[in-house]
Amino acid sequence: MSVLLIAEHSNKEYRPFTLNAISAASEINEDVHVLILGSNSDNVAKSISEIPNVKKVIHVNDPLYENYLAENYSSAILKLAESYSHIVCSANTFGKNLMPRIAALLDVSQVSDITKVVSEDTFVRPIYAGNAFATVKSNDRIKCVTIRPTSFDPAPTSGGSAEIQNGNPGDPSNLSKFIKKEEIKSDRPELGTARVVVSGGRGMQSGENFKLITAVADKLNAAIGASRAAVDAGYITNDHQVGQTGKVVVPDLYIAVGISGAIQHLAGMKESKVIVAINKDGEAPIFSVADYGLEADLFDALPKFLEELNKLNTIQK
């Protein structure tokens, strides 16, 4: 019984969520092996070998893996799969794209997006956008599992010295070709990992008014979110959308401004540690999940909020 974890990386460094996936993997079984498919990716192999939870690193260094394509990745993984009881990776766009392709080729049913490891074959996963939780038991001989990174703490990054073994590349598929990647560069933290998120809803009344949100977000070094209603109304682009059909966020502080709290929005933010709601409708459903509710007109409250924040000597970053 060993777990094979497929690492997500940029050929220079591993992506941070790999650490969370490694924690979950070692809850399944302590014998965690990490597979790195990369090109000129020695640094990635080295830094992963230093993670104490990792017992072995398999490094396949080949130009075929300069860019990540599920079609190319899967054949290399299949060559190793039969020696493992579990194949896991994080349930972000990388793992969501990759794992079902492997599972189908192994003829096993995948368990997606687990938030808890109950035992080696039993896991908890959210369904209906987190409006229910399913405990599921996999009866397949090899278990293909993707891990919701925000549900597990990151593994420690130093102190380990796992053996690095060189592995063999798989067959090139030639079915698809990487063209380009445009990374969205922003000084602002990413919505999915930000410590603080400030979100606006239909109550903002216009895209122009989102500058009130931006000002507060700047002050708090926060990411900017939005409800689907605000996106549908064209106030803001939909990469800011929080909710069932947008992003699921779990910041330390979530500030919902002018958001009524439709079910589909709550699904995306109700796991946040502290929730603040500012809304002039005292009956708005958002207040039922808010730790601190302020019934007020946001156009008065937001400038005042910024003023009060400016009075504080220090603000956590």
Binding site: T93, R101, P126, Y128, S138, I184, N238, L294, I315
Partner: protein, 249 residues
């Protein structure tokens, strides 16, 4: 070029779901059902490609109980040419759905298969990728832009770090993101016309696919309830509470 679009009937995204008391599942009786939202984007894109003259036929397929026919019918009302319903009872796992769709693809021989990136009921996000694996076709998941080229597609994908562009050979599987397009509404005349469009019915069992679940559903539970907190009287009080009580500022 022929495009097959897979659509799923799910509980409408505006419905607050309820977990059954015995933990066996979610209440679906007398609950409003709709097409899985990103499947609407998949249909819209296929119909747009047909309207641009680059495709000749759009076929909508659904796997599910008899009532999933309504979902296929809705796809016909927004421009699909004909429908297929593969009847199967109970919970059908993505792997089984992919195997059923593989049979449909072998029969229909489409050049492209589109579907939503994820179903909003089981949130598995597997079927498209699994179908691509079984057919040994390329996959472009989370598509927010599709350009039809000669013998290939150029697809822009929504990934965590931003946008990624791939070229995939045709035949290909594309799973669609909500950002891909704005699905149209069915007009009344088109709803009437859709009633005359053919829907072929097939039994999953006749395809020789074992749909028995491989993953046991041990129990379904409500998420832990979040307690409502307090109302504060002023912005000053709010900032003080956040600073001194919640300690998040």
């Amino acid at each position: 070029m022929k495009i097959l679009v897979a659509v799923k009937r799910v509980i409408d995204y505006n419905v607050q779901i309820r977990v059954k008391e015995d933990g066996s599942g979610v209440v679906t009786d007398n609950v409003k059902m709709s097409t899985n939202p990103p499947d609407d984007n998949a249909i819209e894109e296929a119909v747009k490609i047909k309207e641009s003259g680059k495709a000749t036929e759009v076929v909508a397929v659904s796997v599910g109980e008899e009532k999933a026919q309504e979902t296929v019918r809705k796809a016909l009302a927004v421009g699909s040419d004909r429908g297929i319903l593969v009847k199967a009872e109970g919970m059908i796992e993505p792997l089984a759905v992919a195997k059923i769709l593989q049979k449909v693809v072998e029969k229909e021989k489409p050049d492209l298969v589109f579907m939503g990136k994820q179903a909003i009921d089981d949130d598995c996000n597997q079927t498209g990728q699994m179908l691509a694996a079984l057919l040994n076709w390329p996959q472009a998941t989370f598509a927010s832009k599709i350009e039809v080229k000669d013998g290939s597609l150029e697809v822009t994908r929504e990934v965590d770090e931003g946008l990624e562009t791939l070229e995939v050979n045709i035949p290909a599987i594309v799973t669609c993101d909500l950002r891909l397009n704005e699905p149209r509404y069915a007009s009344l005349p088109n709803i009437m016309k859709a009633k005359k469009k053919p829907i072929e019915q097939i039994n999953a069992s006749d395809l020789g696919i074992d749909t028995k679940p491989r993953v046991e559903q041990v129990k379904i539970e409500e998420p832990p309830k979040r307690k409502a907190g307090i109302k504060v009287a002023s912005v000053e009080e709010l900032v003080q509470k956040l600073k001194n009580e919640a300690k998040v500022l």
